[in-house]
Amino acid sequence: MDTILEMKNITKTFPGVKALDDVSIKVERGEIHALCGENGAGKSTLMKVLSGVYPHGTYEGDILYDGGVQEFKDIRDSEDRGIIIIHQELALVPLLSIAENIFLGNEISENGVVNWPATFARTGELLKKVGLKENPATLVTNIGVGKQQLVEIAKALSKKVKLLILDEPTASLQENDSQKLLDLLLEFKAQGITSILISHKLNEINRVADRITIIRDGKSISTLDARGGNITEDDIVKDMVGRDMAHRYPDRTPNIGTEKLMEVRNWSATHPLHPERKVVDNVNIDVAAGEVVGIAGLMGAGRTELAMSIFGQSYGTDISGEVLINGKPVDVSTVEKAIASGLAYVTEDRKEMGLILEESITTNITLANLPGVSENGVLNDGAERSVAEEYRNKINIRTPNVAQKVMNLSGGNQQKVVLSKWLFAAPEVLILDEPTRGIDVGAKYEIYTIINQLAADGKGVIMISSEMPELLGMCDRIYVMNEGEIKGQLAAKDASQEAIMRMILKA
């Protein structure tokens, strides 16, 4: 086996922070090499050093690639040498076609005039390679996230890739899309393409990775060989967090009330742009005090749409149905009224819809309950800060200062800020939409602990998640949703991933 890439003793400092401290990693030609670590461990920084985002000279250490020391000046430089990185946030232009996106910046052209027939023909070939059945002229905005991911990969293939780096490619994908993507990686491996896979999903890593390098706090901890099949998820987790994780989910003794705390009856909503499409169709769900109820389903099943339409009609048109809290119908027609009725909705997209990134932790935490820190519309600075300090201590937001801007926090801490915001609004029922998306194992455990505490305090929790083990580990009861309808419900003790899948697929 020869080595395609070796990064030796890489150290990268930002003002005041050592993001990478003497990190080394060795990748062999033709393997799938997984890179693991908690959020903020330095995985993305390492890849940015490799791809030239941080050019030669801004870091210490050497990059040996394809037989020589490399001094990349920028991304283009590393791309020319066959290193292609696909970022977590996709870099596609929504209103351009698939073909235009694939050849963006790399157009098939002569004297500046694009050769469209060749472009489309070549796109067709690339799409076949990644197994995407779409017309090259389709606009990227009209295809799902899973397919967009494939377009990104096709774009990488168009550039004669030797080393493909995927930064959390399956973070926003559904189970079946993820599987397809992983199969594709295995196929590339067979064709001799080397990949580096950054992922939080340990089962995926276990499935495809040949070797695993684990980074913690900016240092390389270990490289495990997974080819023998004797590496368990616990081995990886142990190195990632530096301690044993006996349980992925905190223990909890449910104390579920006998009355229904919230009940949603005959709830329907239609797509705002396609009035003929019923996105939520006659849904009936309920949750009791002290209960954690899950909603399982595939992407596009209508779960987020259900939650948002209930929460102040934030999604959809032609909304009908009834919401009852403690047996009495409540008005949830605006977000303001929904909050006043005792509802809270923690969005799945914390950066776009949950936080004001430019503002401080304090400002974000009090945003949904400004009357709680003001008198006659005049804010009380001191009260605001003490609220922020309270939540910082209570749910362990890691920051030197609550005046810190939220954009400087890691994903897990950002999520804790969003949760704090809603805890401060003192709701009866919390709808948590993918509460642990894109955050690391340690922070997930903390979020789970908060959820359990909420239930113990007698709140009702509705949890939407695409990670079935999470639902199975956390919930008392799981609703299964597909194509806008509730297909059934399972008690936690009867539920299994297979049972949920069967219920989804049952027509």
Partner: protein
Amino acid sequence: MTDTETKSIGYYLRTHIREYGMVVALVAILAFFQVLTDGIMLKPVNLTNLFLQNSYIIIMAVGMLLVIVGGNIDLSVGSVVGFIGALAAVMIVNWDLPTVLVIPVCLIAGAIIGAAQGYWVAYWRIPSFIVTLAGMLVFKGLTLALLGGASVGPFPDSFQAMSSGFIPDFLGGFIEGRFNVFSMTLGVVLAALLPILGLRSRAKQAKFAAVEEPMAVFVTKHAVAGIAILFVTYLLSTYRGLPNILVIMAVLIAIFTFITNSTTLGRRIYALGGNEKAAKLSGINTKRLTFFTFANMGMLAALAGLVFAARLNTATPKAGLAFELDVIAAVFIGGASMSGGVGKVIGAVVGALIMGVMNNGMSIIGVGIDWQQVIKGLVLLAAVIFDVYNKNKA
């Protein structure tokens, strides 16, 4: 002073460089022209003129700040200035209506104009650039129509007093040309009041958590502000006292600083501009807020229109031409962000003063209107580059 304290002062200043940087720039520009104009710049009569000349820009900059922080822009304010001036002239000169009636009617008309534009922006989600560009054309046309293409004037004294009057000297016997004791007293009271209020708010904060602003910064800030206030009021008192318009401006600045810093309304406007979706999902009525910022802007533009007409003592079809550009430039020089959610009232005021001092200073030393524009343009660009540079460095 201990080592950690010095460090935290350095950290505080670095994170707040924009706020203090602009004030330093203003002082530097003032000093520069003071030297270049052989001391004319800070002569009482020139200082008085400086405030009179820039009052309408500052008044509108305060409103524009809210609009821009909310994530929008208002291009129509220049035309609204012209239109309201014309409306006032027609009502007062042609119809002989009393000033006390005309002023509130004009302010309400301005608020309605702002609201009418805000309605389309807020409830129909039509981009504010388009709506107010349309408003700019519409009200420019209506001004012409109202005035029949000619100037209307002059105004009675009661109306002119708004922009060219001075606070009478209640304490010094109302004698023109003598040192204005009452004005000076007002300055002293204000200079004493600010640190007292500041200390009170610090004490209130300290009850809950450590105060973020280091004491040394607090003391320096208030010392500089106090000296500036005393110095300016002293100079003005040796001439004719505080202009009425300066008092109006000071009150407006105080009100809007309070709204933006200390009220839930202000906080919500920042949230709206910072992330509209997140604000909406936090139960904030984003539409109503947007609507409010425009109605407010319209009213302040009307006030500026009255002040401007009173100053010229006539309403002309050309009044207000291109004012919107000066106002918007002032807000951006003052550190507001194009994408919304960031900006301070004081910043916008300082931005307007920087533009005003440059206009005034360059005119005194005889720089032509051509080069004045070039230089002002470059200053705007430099201020925004400074912003972006600071942001990238952080």
